[in-house]
């Protein structure tokens, strides 16, 4: 077996911030290794520091203690080099679907027309054909999420962080988006760090599920999901093995609570 390079290496990371008069310790001594090209989930209860961790991963925030490195990216700061899809879709209502998708490339220095062209090429793959000139206000929640995802993936980053991308979608839309995302990832391998509080979603999608404790957040379990791909939702989530894995996650969570 060849050694898979490490995409992201987190050692002893702590982060405390002030919330009014209180000091909140969001992370304390968090360690994670994320291997290159893997689909990895970070699961944990609400307010366990998942979003804080993502902010550190994409360089928007700095840890108080510990280190975060991205060996696959080489040296240098993380900000501007790690793909990020925030929890809110943050589409700009004054831009069309195409122009919203293109904004990342524009910021990275592409000309507006070149960025648009790249976005148009992927419209069909993202199920947005025919909506190129629509405004976000005219789209359903699922479609808005696709636009936001296209905007992130269009930058072609090696590491992409997705913060609860399907959290606000209804169950049916959500299932189809999950299947779609897996397909897309299998065609275009990159490292995906997927944050969710839905254990089923995390297990179905991921190679590895990292479980976080309640605040102050740490990684308390890193569970390898050895379910072969391609995965079919109906088969996977009803299998005995899947439920064993789920039981282990729930047990670890229960011990913390």
């Amino acid at each position: 077996m060849t050694m898979v390079p490490t995409a992201m290496k987190v050692r002893g990371v702590s982060r405390t911030y002030r919330d009014g008069t209180r000091t909140v310790t969001a992370l304390e001594g968090a360690d994670i290794d994320i291997l290159d090209g893997k689909f990895v989930s970070i699961v944990g209860p609400s307010a366990c520091g998942k979003s804080t961790l993502l902010n550190l991963f994409c360089g928007l925030d700095k840890p108080d203690a510990g280190s975060i490195e991205a060996p696959v990216l080489g040296d240098g700061k993380l900000l501007g080099r790690v793909g990020y899809m925030p929890q809110q879709d943050t589409l700009m209502p004054w831009r069309t679907v195409t122009d919203n998708a293109a904004v990342g490339l524009e910021c990275l220095g592409s000309s507006r027309e070149a960025a648009r062209q790249r976005a148009r090429e992927l419209m069909e793959r993202f199920g947005l054909s025919g909506f190129e000139h629509s405004y976000p206000g005219q789209l359903s929640g699922g479609m808005r999420q696709r636009v936001a995802m296209l905007r992130t993936f269009l930058c072609g980053r090696k590491i992409n962080l997705l913060d609860e991308p399907f959290g606000k979608l209804d169950a049916i839309t959500r299932a189809s988006m999950q299947a779609w995302l897996l397909d897309y990832w299998q065609e275009n391998r990159c490292t995906i760090v997927f944050v969710t509080h839905d254990i089923d979603e995390a297990l179905f999608l991921s190679d590895v599920v990292h479980l976080m404790s309640p605040r102050p957040g740490r990684i308390i379990l890193s569970l390898e999901v050895d379910v072969p791909r391609p995965r079919k939702y109906g088969e996977v989530v009803t299998s005995v093995h899947f439920n064993e894995l789920k039981a282990r996650l729930l047990q670890s969570l229960g011990r913390q609570a």
Binding site: C58, G59, L60, L79, G80, R81, V82, G83, Y84, P86, Q87, Q88, T90, L91, M92, P93, W94, R95, V103, G104, E106, C107, L108, G109, S134, Y135, P136, G137, Q138, C155
Partner: protein, 252 residues
């Protein structure tokens, strides 16, 4: 949907009709209150004079409005970019609005003479403030999540301003521009009152001194129509510039 231009026109016609009837029935001295018909006939007889003076006022007003808008927008952007500048400048900007314009205008005439400059400056002085305040408010209301996202794309402050803050501030900026346009009509007239040889404000003084009340009312009517048209023109540009707004169900 809007029921169009008819309701305000009908209401206006009703008021004018009532005015005409009242003046005639009560036998009011036309020097105190001329009937609308007298004002209208004055307008018809003096169309050319009204037009040339109206054009002079319009020119002062537009020059002043554009200068005021540009200054207001620039100040707003600078105050958003440099926090220290905002802290330092804001009270002084408020102070400029506390100074009575009629007190300042004569000094401007002293400096610049009977040219367009003092009038345009008066207009600009009144216009820049609502634009600056609304620009600052609009720029600071941009969704912080959007800024964070753009920064992960490597966006610098310039990209953030141009791609996120300014577009999301546009509705507020246009609110400021509409207020500024309404104020600029007053500004131009006040500027002319202090020192001018033509323009609608000059005409008003002229008619007042001679007791030509019908002429005075006619001048006010021309000024009013001009102001209304300009105000709605700003709204029209706004609808064109923010055409996406009709699709934006939620604010970002």
């Amino acid at each position: 949907m809007k029921s169009g231009i008819w309701p305000p026109l009908l209401l206006g016609a009703g008021i004018i009709a009532a005015w005409e009837i009242y003046v005639r029935a009560a036998g009011i001295d036309p020097l105190l209150l001329p009937p609308p018909s007298a004002v209208a006939s004055y307008l018809v007889e003096n169309t050319r004079m009204m037009a040339s003076n109206g054009a002079a006022t319009l020119e002062e007003l537009l020059v002043g409005f554009v200068c005021g808008a540009v200054i207001g927008l620039s100040l707003g952007i600078l105050m958003q970019v440099w926090h220290w500048f905002r802290e330092a400048a804001y009270p002084w900007l408020v102070a400029t609005q506390m100074v009575p314009i009629p007190a300042v205008a004569p000094i401007l005439v002293l400096w610049f003479g009977f040219t367009i400059v003092p009038k345009a400056a008066t207009v600009a002085l009144m216009c820049f403030f609502p634009v600056a305040v609304n620009t600052v408010d609009g720029l600071s209301s941009v969704n912080p999540e959007l800024i964070r996202l753009l920064r992960t794309f490597g966006a610098g402050p310039w990209h953030v301003m141009w791609k996120a803050a300014l577009p999301s501030a546009l509705p507020r900026i246009f609110s400021g521009l509409r207020v500024a346009m309404a104020l600029s009509v007053v500004g131009a007239v006040v500027g002319e009152w202090v020192g001018s040889t033509h323009g609608l404000g000059y005409l008003m003084l002229h008619f007042e001194n001679r007791g030509e009340t019908a002429g005075l009312f006619a001048t006010v009517a021309v000024l009013t129509v001009m102001g209304i048209i300009l105000f709605f023109l700003v709204g029209w540009v706004e609808n064109w510039a923010i055409s996406w707004r009709r699709y934006a169900k939620e604010t970002l």
